[in-house]
Symmetry: C2
Subunit: 418 residues, 2 copies
Amino acid sequence: MALIVHKYGGTSMGSTERIRNVARRVAKWVRAGHQIVVVPSAMSGETNRLLGLAKELTSNPDPRELDMIASTGEQVSVGLLALALQAEGVPAVSYAGWQVPVRTDSAYTKARISSIDDTRVRADLDAGKVVVITGFQGIDELGSITTLGRGGSDTSAVAVAAALKAEECLIYTDVDGVYTTDPRVVPEARRLKVISFEEMLEMASLGSKVLQIRSVEFAGKYRVRTRVLSSLTDPLMPLEDEMISGTLITFEEDEKMETAVISGIAFSRDEAKVTVLGVPDKPGVAFKILGPIAEANIDVDVIIQNQSVEGFTDFSFTVARGELAKALDVLNTKVKPEIGAKEIVGDPAVCKVSAVGIGMRSHVGIASKMFETLFNEGINIQMISTSEIKISVVIADKYMELAVRALHKAFGLETTAA
Amino acid sequence: MALIVHKYGGTSMGSTERIRNVARRVAKWVRAGHQIVVVPSAMSGETNRLLGLAKELTSNPDPRELDMIASTGEQVSVGLLALALQAEGVPAVSYAGWQVPVRTDSAYTKARISSIDDTRVRADLDAGKVVVITGFQGIDELGSITTLGRGGSDTSAVAVAAALKAEECLIYTDVDGVYTTDPRVVPEARRLKVISFEEMLEMASLGSKVLQIRSVEFAGKYRVRTRVLSSLTDPLMPLEDEMISGTLITFEEDEKMETAVISGIAFSRDEAKVTVLGVPDKPGVAFKILGPIAEANIDVDVIIQNQSVEGFTDFSFTVARGELAKALDVLNTKVKPEIGAKEIVGDPAVCKVSAVGIGMRSHVGIASKMFETLFNEGINIQMISTSEIKISVVIADKYMELAVRALHKAFGLETTAA
C-alpha cells in the first residue's frame, strides 16, 4: 500500500463523461490497495470563461478579486470528481485549498505555496477515503483566496505530494510523457522513460511544455518522484502497465540505467531578437539597457554582448515575440538617448533550439557537434547560450524544423534508450 | 448616513452589462453617504448549470459535495461585482460566506444560519469600502461549505442586515413590489406600498413568490425593515424616489396608514387533493394516515376531516401536485390495509385561492363575503382552511382565474390604498 497523488488536467476533466473516466481510474488504484489524493484542474475552458467575464468589466482588475473568481473553476471540479468517485463506490471527500489549508503568500494571481497542513487529509485517508483537493489555489494570511498562476495545478499536486511524503506524484495529461523532441516535428521522436529533474527543468523552460516549470522546481526541492503519463489510455488498463508508463522525473542518477549524453532537443518559436548597435562600451551598459526593460515587466532570455571594437559594442537579447514592440519602444524612448546608442534593431523571425542532457557534464565535444551539424545544414547561428546541461542557439525562424530534425538525428535520439 | 443592505437576484446579475448597472446603482447610494453591503445571487442559470453537471454524474449526490459545487456561482458573482464597483471608482471587497464567516448548521443544501460575525465587514465599511458577500451559503462547524437552499440569497441578505443592525434591507428583484394579486391574472392588481410581515408570510407561502419564505421569517424574527423593489429601473434614478419605491414589509402597525381589510389574493395551482373515504372513526386516525405521508417526506397543506357518519368518516388533504402519485402509493400500500379505509381518491385538478389581510382580525364577515362571491360565480368550494389573517379555499382548477378576479373586485383591491 502506497500513498500516491494523482493530478488531472483540464482536458481530462473536460466533461462529465471524462470525469467519470478519471473516477474509474482512481477507483482502480484504490482497489489495488493504495491511498489516493487527487488534484484536478478546472474543466477545460472554464478559467478562460471566468477571466473573460472579469475582463468585460475592467481592463485593470484587482488581482484579489480575480482569484476569488478564477478559483471557483477548480472548486466545481473537486465536487464533481468526489461525486463521480462516490458513484463508483469509492468513499471520497473534496476540499478547496483554504480548507486543507494550503497556505500561500499574498501575491494574488501568482502566489507561492508556503505550507500545507496534512492533518485533515491524512485523517480522511486513514478513514479510507479518497481526498480530492483543488489545484491552483490556496489561502493567504488575511484569509483571502489566492491562485498560483496558470498551470498552478501541477505545482499544487507536487506540493501536496511533498507535504504528505507521497511515494509518487502522477501527473495525468494529454500526452503520454516527455519526448526527445516534439513528435510533430520529428516523427522519430521517442518517449523518455526517465529524465533527470535538471533536464526536465531545461526542457520545460525551453518550450517542451509538459509540466509547469514551478512544479518541476518544487519536485526538485522536495525530491518528489513525479511521473508524467497519459489520461487518454483505458482507465482500466492493468495497474502494472500504468505504473511504468509515461516519463519518470527522477533525482537519483542511478535510476537512469543508461545515461544518454543528450536527452532531448527543445525548441521555441516564441522568440524575438533585439540588438542595440553602436553602444559606447562603458561600465554599466548592460544595466542601463536591461534595467528599463525589466521595469517594463519584459522577460529577457538569451543575452549576448559582442567584443568591443574601437570603444563601441553591440548588445543583443531575446524576448517573447509578443513583447518585441514594447521592448523596442522602451529602448527607443528611454535607453537610446541615455546611452547614446547608434541604432536599435528588432527581429521577430528568430527561434531558439536547445540540446539538453545531464550527460553533457561528463562529455566534451557536444557543442562542436551541435555547431557542425547546423553548419552542414547551412544554418547560420545568431546567438549562443550555454549552461551545465544545455546548449541553446538562436537561429532564423525558417530553419527551426530543419535544425531540430538534424540535431535529433546527430545525437542519435531515435535509437538511444533513455 | 445609514447602513443599508442591498440584495440583487440572478436576473439582475445575469450579464456583465447588468452587473455594471448594479454597480452604478450601488455607487449612487455610496455617493449619497450610505454604507452599503451587497448580497448578490449567482448569475441567472448558473446554479442550474452546476447542479445539472452533478446530476449527470449521479442520481443520488452527496449533499456536501453539491454545496461545494453550487456555492461557486455566488462566489463568481461577488468577485465580478467587486470589480465592477472598483471600475466605478468605489472601493469594494468581496467575501464568500466562509470568510465572513456566516455560520450555519450542517444540513447541506438546506442549511440554517446560526450566526454571522460582523467584525470583518464592519471594519471594511468603516474603512469606506462596499462589502460584497455571497448569498445562499455559509460554513458549518466542520469547516465545510453549506448552502441555504433555493432562494437562500434573500435569507442571507436579511440575516446580514440583522447581524449588522442595518437600517433597511433592500431586495432588488425583477418585479417592482408585492401586488394585491398576480397582474397577469387581474390586470387591475395594484402594488402595495406597505405590507405587514404576517401578511407577507401568508402571501409568500401561498404562491405569490416574491421573496423566499425563510427570509420573511428571518425579517420577522429580527425585525429587519425589508423592502422589495425593482432592479429594472434606471440605476441613476433619484435616490429619494428609489427609497420610497417598491413594497415595504413592516413590523410596526402604524406604518400602515390606512389598513385595508384584505391586502391581497394569493393563489397556487400546484395543488392536488387526496381523500381517504370510509375510515372507521377511531382515535389516532389522522396520525395513522399522515404519519406514513410525513415519513415519505411529502408536505401536506390543507387538512380536513369530515364529521363522522355512522362511525365512518372521510379524511382529505392537499399535497403538491408532483407528489400526488407518491402520496396515493403510500396510502394504498401502507395506510389502507392498516386502518381499513374503503377507498383512496386523488384529484390533481384543484387549486387554492386565499384572501390575506391583517385587517381581518378586527373585521367580521370576511369569510361569508368570500363564500358569497364564489357562490355568485357558481364556483363550488371543496375545502376551507382559515387562520388569523387568511382564508383559503380549495376549488376546481379551471375556476382559479375567475375566482381570483372576482375576489380581487369584491374586496375592492383595485381602488384601496395600501
